[in-house]
């Protein structure tokens, strides 16, 4: 008898779940389901991102939702596993019936799912775009400049603001991203007419001395670097490179890294938004208040999460009539640019075949175990 009850209950649950899935893909009542794919476990971890997106959605829901409907975030962990990332996108679109993707932060989502997003006519607004496909797809528009636009900005800062003649680059490049970095370097050359003194896009694990010695041999005055910080600076110091300016990519801009940089070394970091280490900067007050109230870790990634959720909500509020996948996609393709003070340029989705709306970077310098925000605001590369 007990077994019969259990079976019946399971069947009822299954039916109700299926019904919920069918309803939510485009109905005019019930919650508005929004999907996101995040790295919660695995090598690329951003657990604070879905928490921050949810905090924004909770705020909107507390104020009555959008057109009386609540926002519901459905976040899936892909553990940086391609199979799980593809599966997550299929589940979110087919079973959960999400109207859009917002606040994704995965190292593999864009490349794997760009075709699916195109086929299903759904838009994605990642909080953190990582691979080149995030910036070259018709249905994806991240809220961060990403590693490529950031590399151009860092090169530009080294040559134009710091006035270094011999600029070099030592990068670890993810498989498939090499072309993106090469294009970023070309973009800098087009803008400034300058070229690199030394380039290594195959910096591997292990003792960094050999890469640093190559930089010394090339006479590098500024070096762009994007991998593990502590051994790099320890060895650079041993090699006597105190007069070289090292420019770190956004992934190295953390409180812990500031503490491992020796006091006599010159380390700058290019940030993707207003530096998160100073909560009083324009746009940061809202983010700082939100993450503080919700007990979320303060990181640059959580800034992206709040920005992605905010611009998503703003566009959703502009929709007249039913909020469905089709109406949401149309609203993003037709939208006007949004000025968001936390970023270096206005954010817009628009109708184009590829989207990389955020340009420019703010620069910070390692100073006594922390990061000091440098004057000058955002550096947005422009033609000389």
């Amino acid at each position: 008898m007990k077994r019969t009850y259990t079976t019946a209950a399971a069947a009822a649950l299954a039916i109700s779940l299926t019904a919920a899935g069918c309803q939510s893909s485009g109905g005019s009542d019930g919650p508005i389901k929004v999907g996101s794919i995040n790295g919660i476990t695995g090598l690329f971890q951003t657990p604070e991102v879905p928490k921050a997106v949810k905090a924004v959605f909770d705020e909107v829901n507390a104020a009555g939702g959008i057109g009386g409907r609540k926002l519901e975030l459905v976040s899936k962990d892909d553990a940086m596993d391609p199979a799980r990332a593809s599966q997550a996108a299929r589940e979110l679109i087919k079973s959960e019936g999400v109207v859009a993707m917002a606040g994704s932060s995965s190292a593999v989502d864009c490349g794997l799912n760009r075709a699916t997003y195109g086929k299903e006519k759904i838009v994605s607004i990642p909080a953190v775009g990582v691979d080149p496909s995030c910036f070259t797809s018709p249905n994806i528009a991240p809220v961060n400049p990403g590693p490529y636009a950031l590399t151009t900005a860092m090169l530009y800062y080294a040559s134009e603001t710091l006035k270094r003649d011999k600029v070099c680059i030592d990068y670890t490049v993810l498989p498939g991203s090499g072309g993106g970095i090469e294009n970023a370097i070309k973009e800098w050359t087009n803008l400034t007419g300058k070229s690199l003194a030394h380039k290594n896009l195959a910096v591997g694990q292990g003792d960094p001395t050999r890469y640093l010695v190559a930089d010394k041999n090339a006479g590098c005055q500024a070096v762009l670097y994007n991998a593990t910080v502590a051994p790099w600076f320890a060895q650079a110091r041993t090699q006597g490179m105190q007069n070289v300016d090292f420019l770190l990519a956004a992934n190295s801009y953390t409180d812990a890294n500031a503490k491992v940089i020796p006091a006599d070394m010159n380390a700058y970091a290019g940030t993707e938004w207003q530096p998160y280490t100073d909560p009083t900067l324009p746009g940061n007050e809202r983010w700082a208040k939100l993450v503080d109230e919700n007990g979320i870790q303060k990181t640059a990634f959580s800034q992206g999460a709040v920005m992605a959720a905010d611009v998503f909500v703003q566009v959703l509020k502009s929709i007249k009539g039913d909020i469905t996948r089709a109406s949401v996609t149309k609203a993003f393709k037709d939208m006007k640019p949004i000025n968001y003070p936390m970023a270096g340029s206005p954010w817009v989705f628009g109708p184009g075949g590829e989207h990389s709306p955020i340009k420019g970077s703010q620069f910070v310098k390692a100073d006594r175990g922390g990061w000091k925000v440098l004057p000058g605001g955002f550096t947005v590369p422009t033609k000389k």
Partner: protein, 290 residues
């Protein structure tokens, strides 16, 4: 290019030490231990987690070494208890399985390290002298000295002491050793624990130079095996030389832009070339002797 080769040489001492640990395990308990660096890294990360929490470095180092010794000893005990009569390849497979499991657990526990979350102490970073354009820090001399010490001490122990004789007997014929009264299982577990602790110390020594990521440190096993291969899993002096050669090759490969992208392949190429070279005169059905 010469400077790059010298720069590579600076990491050779660390590689030599790891290769020596592999050879030591193989010579003493006849197992190719793929889990060695993963076990050592586990101990190293236990230590770093404790120092990050404010514990003094010495007790933390001791606890970390004890953790690695315990883990390695447990692996040794399992191999002695359940796989004593099995072939070497089965025992190696057990250690491969453990390597995979430990790497997954280590990554989950300690995460990636590009954020600088874990900091390894670096007491030997001060420069000693300069060769060409390369500044050589103390840590290079410490690694080389440690490697030389292991090579000499273990060589002498194996050939000149009673314990060495017993250990050799244990490795060559474990069951016969037990019959003649050598406490083989206890001795074997002791060797495993000892190698575990030494590996942990080596990992702590090389971590500040090589990066503090768990996966990176556990993955050093491929380099260690390539180095051990140079010494044919037997010769300690050749293994020492192998570490230095591999370091130089890495330095050289990173300085040539045409092969820069493939520098990670260097250890595997060394393994392949040596396998081919060593087996060139062998014919089918020849009994392989260790």
């Amino acid at each position: 290019m010469v400077n790059s080769v010298i720069a590579g040489l600076t990491s050779g001492g660390g590689y030599a030490l790891l290769g020596l640990c592999v050879v030591l395990t193989y010579r003493l308990v006849a197992v190719v231990n793929f889990a060695m660096t993963a076990v050592g890294a586990m101990g190293a990360f236990v230590m770093v987690s404790l120092t990050d929490k404010g514990l003094n470095v010495w007790p933390a180092l001791l606890i970390g070494a004890a953790t690695a010794a315990l883990l390695s000893g447990l692996l040794g005990a399992a191999l002695v208890r359940w796989f004593a009569g099995h072939r070497e390849r089965t025992k190696a497979a057990v250690t491969v399985a453990l390597y995979v499991a430990l790497t997954a657990i280590g990554l989950r526990l300690f995460g990636g390290n590009s954020t600088g979350a874990h900091r390894f102490p670096s007491p030997f970073a001060d420069p000693v002298f300069t060769v060409g354009g390369v500044v050589v820090p103390q840590s290079v001399l410490v690694s080389l000295g440690f490697a030389l010490l292991i090579t000499l001490a273990v060589g002498l122990m194996l050939t000149r002491t009673r314990l060495g004789l017993k250990l050799q007997a244990l490795s060559e014929r474990p069951s016969t050793a037990e019959v003649v009264g050598i406490p083989a299982p206890r001795l074997a577990v002791g060797v495993w624990a000892g190698v575990g602790a030494i590996t942990m110390l080596v990992i702590v020594l090389v971590a500040p130079r090589l990066g503090g990521d768990y996966a990176t440190l556990a993955g050093l096993i491929s380099t260690a095996l390539a180095v051990a291969m140079v010494g044919a899993f037997r010769s300690l002096p050749l293994t020492l030389a192998g570490g230095l050669i591999l370091g130089c090759l890495e330095g050289l490969s990173s300085s040539l832009s045409s092969i820069q992208k493939y520098q990670g392949v260097v250890p595997f190429l060394v393994i392949l070339v040596l396998l081919w070279w060593r087996s060139r005169r062998e014919v089918w059905d020849t009994a392989h002797s260790r």
